[in-house]
């Protein structure tokens, strides 16, 4: 028996002592936190104001066995605290279940808090094993609590709605892109790169948006707008970019998956150019102690709309359109660079990072004064567009109209 019992007992002891999974928790004992917000609180002694959006599973799912009238798909809790981990525990006074962060989709930072700086706040999210690092970080142009309190239709809870629309608009529109927590931490810790985060604000009647009636009407009283990218300097919010400037940044960061560009072809008429593939290459070079950034974008596009009488069967016309499209994009990028370089004076495009890669010696000497050098450093943008297809027709129907 000793031959069997000894290894068996060793195995049992090992499984008992070496395992890290004693925290068994039933599904009915957890509250799934789907969105979390951090604001600056009004109180001096407890400077953080945490808010949590929790899924009300019984209401969300059709298959739920617990009936009852229509309730809110999500519950909202808030608490003031000194630290994030304290706040998470403090909120248990209000919630009957353990908060569960494994499915957190968005972290919303209030504008005021972001302006003060987010530097030390992110540690808990990296340290705590219960947190995942793949949620989106957004900066609210207002209060984070307002974002988490607003109802939305289509998705199960507002936080999922935000998460899905970030992904969707990144894929379809390209004017902004999602910054995940892990990307945020990467740009916080890398040299020569400043932090950006997605921007969000609630448009409309914020009070009315809190109620379930917000999603019972066809045009909701308030809704989320995800257009502007929040730009940081020294981990402090310095401002938001406009939608087109955001796309300018997205081009540089190679985040544009697909988008539509408009090229003028007459008064109030445009040719729609649908970019289907785009690849951005950043290259820095240091010549005569002068760093320079070269942004090269090569892309493939289709023609998606022709509003004027253009003979696009002719290669020359296509070339013309390509050229114009390149100019539009270059302009967009240059406008964004002018804003972050001259106005915000923050290196969100990662210029310094590229210089570091290109010329480490130069970087070592100048990294402390980089912020001053950056403001005046030249950036060159080169876009190469290839139009591949023009859709189901070639010439627009306008060229078939023979009315004098």
């Amino acid at each position: 028996m000793g031959k069997v019992l000894r290894p068996l007992s060793i195995w049992l002891i090992c499984t008992a002592l070496l395992s890290g999974c004693w925290d068994r928790v039933e599904l009915t004992e957890i509250a799934i936190v789907i969105g979390m917000g951090i604001d600056k609180s009004d109180r001096e002694d407890e400077p953080l104001h945490l808010s949590f959006q929790v899924i009300n599973a019984g209401e969300v799912s059709q298959g739920g066995t617990s009936g009852g009238g229509p309730g809110s798909p999500a519950a909202y809790y808030e608490v003031n605290a000194r630290s994030i981990s304290e706040g998470i525990r403090k909120v248990s006074k209000e919630v009957s279940r353990t908060l569960f962060f494994g499915h957190t989709r968005v972290l919303v930072l209030g504008k005021e808090l972001a302006r003060k700086g987010i530097n030390g706040l992110m540690d808990h999210f990296e340290r705590d094993y219960k947190m995942r690092t793949n949620f989106f970080v957004l900066v609210a142009d207002g209060k984070a609590t307002d974002v988490l309190k607003t109802m939305s239709s289509l998705e199960k809870t507002p936080a999922i709605f935000i998460d899905r629309s970030i992904v969707q608009s990144e894929r379809d529109l390209g004017t902004d892109y999602g910054v995940k927590f892990i990307d945020l931490m990467q740009s916080i810790t890398s040299e020569g790169m400043e932090v950006v985060a997605g921007g969000i604000h609630v448009e409309g009647d914020i009070k009315a948006g809190n109620s379930l009636t917000n999603i019972e009407q066809i045009a909701p009283a308030s809704k989320f707008i995800l257009d502007n990218i929040a730009v940081f300097k020294n981990e402090k919010l310095v401002g938001f970019l406009s939608p087109y400037e955001s796309r300018g940044l997205a081009w540089v960061k190679d985040k544009v998956k697909s988008t539509v560009m408009n090229v003028h072809c007459g008064k109030d008429s445009y040719v729609g150019i649908e970019v289907i593939r785009s690849k951005t290459k950043l290259k820095a070079e240091v010549k005569n102690n002068q760093p320079k950034l070269l942004i090269e974008i090569s892309q493939e596009a289709n023609i998606s709309e022709v509003m004027c009488d253009l003979d696009i069967t002719k290669p020359a016309v296509i070339h013309e359109l390509e050229k114009k499209n390149e100019e539009v994009i270059e302009k967009e990028i240059n406008k964004m660079i002018a804003k972050v370089q001259k106005k915000y004076k923050t290196d969100v495009i990662g210029f310094g990072y590229q210089v570091h890669k290109a010329d480490p010696d130069y970087w070592r000497k100048h990294k402390h004064s980089w912020r001053e050098i950056y403001v005046d450093a030249p950036v060159e943008v080169k876009v190469k567009t290839r139009i591949r297809r023009e859709g189901l027709r070639n010439k627009s129907y306008k060229s078939d109209i023979h009315k004098e």
């Binding site: 069997v4 290894p7 068996l8 195995w11 499984t15 395992s19 890290g20 999974c21 925290d23 068994r24 928790v25 039933e26 599904l27 009915t28 957890i30 799934i32 789907i34 899924i55 599973a57 019984g58 969300v60 799912s61 059709q62 298959g63 739920g64 066995t65 617990s66 569960f100 494994g102 499915h103 989709r105 995942r132 199960k156 999922i160």
Partner: protein
Amino acid sequence: MKLFTNKKRKQVKKNPQIEEQEKKELELYSGETLYTDLQQNLEQIKSTLGNSNDIIIRQFRIGKRWHLDAAIIYTDGMADSDLITNSVMNSFLKESSQKNLDSGIDENTLIEVIKNEVLNLVDIHIANDWKGLYLALLSGDTVVLFNGITQAITADTKGWDARGVEEPTTSTVIRGPKDGFTETFRINTSLIRRRIRSPKLWLEQRKIGEVSQTEIGIMYIKGIANEGVLSELRERLDRINIDLVLESGYIEKFIEDEVYSPFPTIIYSERPDVVVANLVEGRIAIVVDGTPFVLIVPATFSTFFQSPEDYYQRFDFGSFVRLIRYLSFLIALLVPAIYVALTTYHQEMIPTPLLISLAAQREGVPFPAIVETVFMEIIFEILREAGLRMPKAIGNAISIVGALVIGDAAVNAGLVSPAIVIVVALTAISSFVSPAFSMGLAVRLLRFVAILMAGTLGLYGITMFLLLLLLHLCSMRSFGVPYLQGIAPLNMIEQQDIFVRFPLWMMKKRPSLIAQDRIRLGHDQGPQKPSLEKIWNQKGGKDNGDG
């Protein structure tokens, strides 16, 4: 560290005196010769068999002058009485009148004359002692006794009502032979021999069971079957000392390698084609009288996932189905455990929408996930067992109770969540996929172990469980062949017939360690597409010649 090996089977030492006595009792009649007097012999038979009604004794006189007293004895119902009347009685009463068989004739001459000139039956033997006589009598043979002679003639007149060859009920195929083994030993061996017309197919016969004297046949192909395995099998069979053998399961329990393992190390099959295919691969079949299930040794893990149909259908589909089988093995083994682990430990691993609906389903369910799962699995096992044992007419009631009460009412009553019903249903269906029922039994047992491990340690527990399972499987052997032969130790050639099935013409070798002669095919057996010219020129040539 070997945790579950049980290589050395300890032999319990018996008191030698008791052993001796047992032996004596069991071999009561061997060596005891018959009496010379016919009446005395008949009395002895009657008293030994307790005047049993079904023993028929018919006395008569034979010889030219009808002087020699004789008697035939047979068991009614086991012997073919038509055959006895037409052949045995007929030959004695008619043929013997031509022969000089008066009393006082030399014993051996008489037997020779009867054997060679009188009895018109094929299979005739001489019984010298009581043991042989009783064995023949109780197997359905006819025993002939003569006055003054201490030998008995036994004639094979076996004939009883037996079930005919029917389609096997336990393993059916869409394509493939539809005959199955029966309860009769001779029919079973003939079903095998009918498929292998080779003199190399050898049959060794022995009797096991001191009381039942059950016929056991070892069938193998001389030259292909591994001699080592064969002699090991003979040794193990000879060691069996049991009173009764009712089914091949009795034999299996005595000769299997791993007693303390849920996994079977011997295959059984009801299908002659399966047995024959295994014989030709070098395995050995054990046919047991009284059961349609023939044992096949040695068995490795992968053989339990092979169905005859894999080979009858085209190889692509055969491979696909086999992969499905391995998949369903894993599903049946692990899905409830994974459900428990994910819902109680690793909620972050479930996609958010699924987690939300699972959480919604679990609202109001009073039990923890593990209790719910074990509860439902046990209920399913009860249902399955009830469905098996119930009279067929009431069987429908079971499915109604199962579907309505367990599936629907339990969910509506808030006892269990709908998800667990799906999990149980999925595992139930998957556990039926295995072509070998015995492997399905192993999975049914191990599933509960997996659930418990998952419920106490989460995915870590499942990993531990799988590791232990792997260690256990690696340590197992079936007649000296590693249980995971082909997988561990890895053998690339054998991979042709483990997870997938290669086209038959590509499988050139028989499994190693099992077959002695490993070459299965000649060279270049693959289908060769002739060029169009070859076909058309032949025809064209003929036409031209005629023209």
